[in-house]
Amino acid sequence: MFNIPSFYGFRSGGESFVGLLDEYGGAAAAYSLRLLRTAYTGDAIEVRRASDNATQDIGFVDGELDVTSLESFCSGTNGFVTTWYDQSGNGRNATQSTAANQPQIVSSGSVLTINGKPRIDFDGSNDSLSITSFTFASANYNSFVGRRNSTGRRLMGLAGNQYNYALWTDNNYYLQASNSGYQFSSSTDLTTSHLLLTGLRESGGNQKIYKNGNEISSTFVAFSVATNINSIGVYTGGNYSFCELQEIVYYNSAQESNRTGIETNINDFYSIY
């Protein structure tokens, strides 16, 4: 029997959508510009257009962002994300109430993309999205897809206040998944390529960072007090991402046995490596 690859979200016959979170459920927060879960009936994003500050929710068509509606709404102008909806079912929507701090998704009427897939641009100076603060567990898992603007600048997805949570790269790769310390890769990497970054912390305290499915760092880091995740794109007061993001999934469990499957699902869709 001929099978349509599941990375398009549809199984053989095209009648049945299967999303990343259908296969690997239990995410604590999940943000994407594609549909991640069959039971999710909400939208992907709310967008503000620059021409008149009107806003509109943008959903999905065939499991992908409804680009036609988005470009129609933002015809001839720029579009900015006011809300990136959480598809996990936990209601952890990421919002930005200040127009100048909203990341961009449409430029002069055209949706911004990487490899033909929509992206959200963070400007490195004040763009971020806020999440109602939630506590990360002593075992945790985070994968995200994006590309930094230039060498030396920061690619980062979910983050908290200082000494809370963050997974990021500037010219090294860092995972702060415990407030007692962080780990970082020993060798520098000047790439500005499209990346899938994964950071996981096992219950025993071993932390691992993966770049495009390959482990690049593994370190034991003690865990003391559980702290918080509260944003996308900014760590503490002034450490902003200067990057493009497409998807973030976070679990309050290490997902060791599911990591390869989760990363394969993401890569099959975004064609990163």
Partner: protein, 76 residues
């Protein structure tokens, strides 16, 4: 950076509202977007101060911005 400095938080709050009013924000009751720009606190500067970072067009509300430095607690 370029922007506008305020000595008290109340002054910064008032400025933020002036900018929002100029832009007609929020457009509708219940909208997510309620401000054009927001203020920050430069807590590591001595003395600390509040500020609004300049964005295109903001001079129409506050005049020409000034240049100043903000100390941030950098990531590793």
């Amino acid at each position: 950076m370029q922007g506008y400095i305020y000595n008290t938080e109340q002054e910064a709050i008032t400025a933020r509202q002036q900018a929002a009013d100029y832009m007609g924000l929020p457009l509708n009751e219940g909208d997510t977007t309620i401000y054009w720009v927001n203020y920050n606190y430069a807590s590591l500067n001595e003395p600390p101060f509040y500020y609004i970072r300049y964005v295109d067009g903001l001079e129409a509300v506050f005049g020409q911005p000034t240049e100043f430095e903000v100390i941030v607690n950098d990531m590793p």
